[in-house]
Symmetry: D2
Subunit: 247 residues, 4 copies
């Protein structure tokens, strides 16, 4: 499992332009997320960023990716539609996708969900406490009944997503809100996990439980080798011969 | 409930070009679906078709529609993207949507689902038997444990949709397939029901149980008057003042 | 809808023995819940209590009940198993059941859920804020994005229930916890709603939004007239004649 | 994963009394199910049967079981209530449970589901075809879009279970019925998979895809090491000290 091919994607803009972000993530948020995965035993982790050719995600990279993690915030609109198309098709064909924090508003997450994926938010450096509501779920492995993050950007309900297939974590915020923070979905053959924590101005991706959850989610989202996805490009299958004789 | 404002949308092309379809639906499939709703007591039913201005669905019509039913097949690509945008926003804001048969491949259904919405199919005039798997669901009202349709186009699994929030009906086909034929979803404030039966070359929308299910689905999909949808156009809400004092 | 036959069941013990409870609910919690339903237009509301013959729920009462609301706390163990059996069979046959607050530990709720239905709790008179996470659900009708209750007993996660079919409300508590406070389930033909608010030492059932939610839930849980429940007493159905000829 | 501690439980009565069953399962159904798991690489498989002391499932055996498979049919009523209590508590604490075929009517499955778990059935040796509806689910690993079993006992809808958290397989039957044949549930910390195929008079547990699914299901149902189940015996947790100061 730990030899899954993981690609950590990052928009990688705040880190170039904001000094306070550079101080926390000098090599980019992707470097720290990748380090967290390696810490949890993943041996096959690469990174990709927005300003690389084809947004760092040409077909060849996607074809060799089992699970993709996604962090974006200020430049969602700059991700090429062709990139979104490629990622979308790969998810339907089985690639796992872990959408982090402000990735809720990314083109790819909104396309997969079919909703606005919008929410309430506040930047006040308040406390968050994440409660496990599905302790038997593999993404909860290694967790206590809750864990805390001392200073965060708040995300609050109503979070406009389809009801998750499985809800693993709910956040409490000091300022009075709650949020569905760990949400599992399946689209096509692919599994998707939305995980709320993260922000460019707080050192969230160094946090041990945050790293634990991301590592768990990658394992959970691994592709399953059943029959291949048959509907690439939206085609249907005409089964001319019935399986049973029609009387 | 029976004064809900229902708009029955139809592509209305097969009926103009195919004699066998004209024979079954001389005034269009929409006329027969609307008649079925009126038979079940709906008093406020209008129709709209693809070739009307703005595809028959200008903002003014959508604003006055509580539940929209959708039938399309050969001309999905001709529905304007602006029309799809308008319908999408109205569903998120609470309008119910009943997607019928070949509407599974419509732009609006695929956008709301986030998947290919594709499937296996066969035209052989075989028998279908629809089994109720959620007898306590309002869409099952008035049904027996199963009902039959003598001659249908077959749709078979794998049907590439997100797992329905509630699965109400499963079809058995003479030729050997099964299908999730009655599927409930919520997106934003809006409720969506996919219902499989229907085809232009069989008199499906005269069938009493088919009419019963569509009438039930319209009632189920009625908008709920909670707080208004807040995320039109994808905007988020910045809650600058916390609800609780931050210590 | 407002002529549904509703039975409001109450253990009715705290009100007899605790002065502070008498002060809030002089005629019993059931009287106040019933008043709230009448306020919302229900015309056919009766009450029943533990110490009546057959716990106030003989077969004749259950047979004439469309939706039953349940409040119990200190005497769950005194509800006769025969009463639980009768209620259980009626829910499977289609009767709606609204389980309130400490009813989470009632015999009937635990039997229907199959889990311990246990939770964390604290009596400290703290603030609760209930957030709507399914604004399109009929149980959310008339609600704003959240509502508050000034002083409550806290219930916290992990709440040991099966994942709800639909989650409508999540609570935030001043002391740091969250809770799935409005949970929909279906068992057999019957619909079940668990609603957290309520306690004997706080005037919760006078609260306008609490009354709104209970009134909404009763309408949602109304029995659906599909085919009758066929498996009373656990029997199976031997379909000796196949529906299709076996070749 | 393949060193999970699996216990294969069998009622083991038909095999002693019915010659035709002996001919198919001379060492008992459990021996063949265990052989199938070993074929798939499981190295730590033991068996247990009804007529052993404590029904073969004393606390010591359950404490050392990660996943339990259950086959019973003619003697559900002879399983001691104390055995059901022990298995129930172990499932809530995290043990996986795979319920096979006629186990749908076992005491433990009915207790975990809260419903009658009843269904329609017919013994006519007809053909069954199982369709994968969740190709991305780990229980579908290694499967084609469908697989067939030439001669089976039929189980048909309505199957009176709670809506599964995930539905993996739907069966088509020659005689005209459908059935939800592969159903995932979570109760407490434990995962449960109901799998329809199997009967004492057909050699179902030699079938390669049936063995594949059971092997997959065991891996999926493995316990997750999050925090321990806290509610043994139904106790609740009084959190006297709030996590946040109450103002």
């Amino acid at each position: 499992m730990r030899d899954l091919r993981v690609t950590v994607w990052n928009e990688f803009r705040h880190e170039k332009s904001h000094k306070e972000v550079q101080a926390i993530y000098p090599d980019g948020i992707h470097a720290v997320i990748a380090a967290g995965l390696r810490e949890h035993g993943y041996t096959n982790v690469r990174v990709a960023t927005l300003d690389e050719p084809e947004n760092g995600l040409p077909q060849s990279v996607l074809d060799e990716t089992d699970v993709l993690t996604w962090w974006g915030h200020m430049a969602h609109g700059e991700v090429a539609d062709a990139t979104v198309d490629r990622v979308h098709q790969r998810v339907l064909a089985g690639m796992g996708l872990i959408v982090l924090h402000s990735g809720h508003h990314s083109k790819i997450f909104r396309r997969l969900m079919g909703t606005s994926c919008s929410l309430r938010w506040r930047e006040a450096g308040e406390r968050e406490r994440l409660w496990v509501v599905s302790p038997g779920h593999p993404i909860a492995a290694g967790l206590d009944p809750y864990f805390e993050i001392p200073e965060v950007e708040m995300y609050g309900e109503h979070f406009d997503i389809p009801q998750p297939d499985e809800l693993v974590l709910i956040s409490w915020f000091q300022g009075g809100e709650v949020f569905r923070s760990g949400c599992c979905f399946t689209r096509g053959h692919g599994k998707i996990f939305y995980f709320r924590p993260g922000h460019e101005t707080h050192p969230i991706y160094y946090h041990p439980q945050v790293r634990q959850v991301i590592a768990n989610a990658v394992a959970w989202a691994a592709p399953v080798k059943s029959f291949p996805f048959a509907y690439g490009g939206g085609r249907a299958i005409n089964v001319k011969e019935p399986l049973e004789a029609l009387g």
